[in-house]
């Protein structure tokens, strides 16, 4: 059997808060999992369980304290995402791995369409072409032309999230890291995102996504990683945890 596209092993994260007299926070302890190309892994768990930390470690926004994340690039090279040179991480972020945070961090005074287009221009797409594609993606997410040319800083939470989602799908990567992409969306837009996720998956994108919505997990995920107190446990999407009335269900409920 071929090696998985991504193999995370023994991931721990300890944050030492020097400004709080060296207090330590340990959001992740010895987390391991594999992910194949095109696979959809959902991450579930209560708030503070380390879900966002996990994605940030994979994106190198956080430095992992221990562990490895062996990632096989499109070119077939194996890279440890936790220790690869920054230069390589920058290249992977540009070409293969997209991380979409829960809250949009758009540069100030840049129109929404250009925020989305920048994903493409970074990969060398002509600005005009990139704008067209970005605009089409935003339209698909129900964002009209007048909003597209305004600054996202002025947007509502739901509008900001759609800009964020558009960034993820305007150029589907090999590995997509999503932090609650639908938390602020209405039902219609949530359906559109699900549609986009299906399309991306069909095109071979592997996804690691944090969801609180059990329904979404059942509809999208191949596998589920449940995080609680920094430790991970893997379950199937049709597991009782997700499907019904187990303890985890309560956890999920609590976290909503």
């Amino acid at each position: 059997m071929a090696d998985p596209m991504l193999s995370v092993s023994g991931l721990s994260k300890t944050i030492t808060l020097h400004i709080l007299h060296g207090a330590e926070v340990r959001p992740l302890r010895d987390v391991s999992f594999d992910l194949d190309a095109g696979e959809f892994l959902a991450i579930a768990g209560p708030s503070g369980a380390g879900k966002s930390s996990l994605l940030k470690c994979l994106n190198r926004t956080y430095l992992a304290t221990a562990g490895t994340a062996r990632y096989i690039t499109r070119a077939g090279e194996t890279v440890d995402l936790f220790s690869a040179p920054e230069r390589e991480v920058v290249a992977l972020r540009r070409d293969e791995i997209t991380y979409v945070s829960q809250f949009l961090k758009a540069p100030p005074r840049v129109p929404a369409v250009d925020v989305v287009a920048s994903v493409l221009t970074q990969r060398g797409v002509e600005l005009e072409v990139a704008r067209e594609r970005a605009s089409a993606m935003l339209s698909r997410l129900g964002m009209g032309p007048s909003l597209q040319t305004s600054y996202p800083a002025l947007f509502s939470g739901g509008e900001q999230q759609r800009v964020n989602v558009a960034k993820a799908f305007v150029a589907p990567p090999r590995l997509l890291l999503l932090d609650e992409p639908t938390s602020a969306l209405d039902a219609d837009n949530r359906e559109r995102v699900i549609e986009l996720l299906h399309e991306a998956q069909a095109a071979g994108t592997a996804v690691i996504a944090i969801f609180h919505d059990r329904d979404l997990i059942r509809r999208l995920a191949d596998r589920v990683l449940v995080l609680a107190d920094g430790t991970a446990r893997e379950v199937a999407p049709d597991d009782d945890y997700i499907a019904g009335d187990s303890v985890t269900d309560e956890l999920l409920e609590v976290s909503r």
Partner: protein
């Protein structure tokens, strides 16, 4: 893998005199890759500007080496350059945008002339070509073209900074050094200048080192960041990592001092 455009190793600048020894920067090492923006952040006196001044050779380092790919194939220490090579580095390969436009511009030479100087140094000898190119750079930096033949002495601070950036871009240097480019400006003007630099960077893929005490500037412009304190690099990493997962106590303090 792409080779670094610039490698700096063990840069030291120590000012010593009778009974005193001031370490401006010590054992500073880093790489800059083509097309990337490296940020250097730190408080005043941290040595961040000294690093830039050494790179632009306004200041001669006490020791250390810096290798620029295009200078003797990246095999000769830039700081061993003779006078002529040093000038060549400063006019053809690098450019500097100073915090104070008076340092980077001749205020009694027209805006166009300031930009033209770097072209003239590169042996441009047709006035029409020089003017076309200079106005091209001024347009890029949003200096009204009708002010091309006015003296920057009579420009606003923000406009002077735009002229300085236009000059820095002239002659397509491999590396642009930006020292606190918005520090002296009003907040609204700062935003305009920052947007401009970011836009130029994304359009033309300029390789740059941005020095600022302002994490907001670094967040906006830099791909990677060095954090300096008391002449030392205390931490380096991807800019978003520095901001979200700072390791060093000083960086944590710095990040937590930023409002919003």
């Amino acid at each position: 893998m792409v080779a670094p455009l610039l490698r700096v190793r063990d840069l030291n600048k120590i000012y010593s005199g009778k009974g005193h020894r001031i370490v401006a920067c010590e054992d500073v090492s880093f790489d800059v890759y083509p097309g990337e923006v490296l940020g250097i952040v730190g408080e005043s006196g941290s040595g961040k500007s000294t690093v830039l001044q050494c790179l632009f050779q306004d200041v001669i380092p006490t020791s250390g080496s810096a290798f620029l790919t295009s200078f003797h194939g990246g095999e000769r220490n830039m700081w061993d350059a003779d006078r002529r090579e040093r000038r060549e580095l400063r006019t053809h390969r690098m450019s500097m945008v100073y915090q104070n436009p008076r340092q980077g511009l001749n205020l009694m030479v027209t805006a166009g002339g300031n930009v033209a100087e770097r072209l003239l140094a590169a042996d441009w000898r047709r006035v029409s070509d020089i003017r076309a190119k200079a106005s091209d750079y001024l347009v890029r930096t949003e200096v009204p073209i009708e002010r091309m033949d006015d003296f920057p002495a009579f420009f606003s601070g923000g406009m002077q900074q735009r002229v300085q950036i236009a000059k820095a871009l002239a002659n397509n240097p491999e590396l642009v050094l930006l020292d606190e480019l918005t520090t002296g400006l009003d907040v609204s003007v700062q935003a305009g200048v920052l947007d401009l630099v970011r836009d130029i960077q994304s359009r033309y893929g300029v390789t740059a080192i941005v020095v600022s005490h302002d994490l907001g500037v670094i967040r906006l412009l830099a791909d990677r960041t060095l954090v300096m304190k008391d002449g030392h690099v205390v931490e380096s990493g991807l800019t978003d990592q520095i901001l979200e997962d700072p390791q060093h106590p000083y960086t944590q303090l710095l990040v937590n001092c930023v409002t919003n």
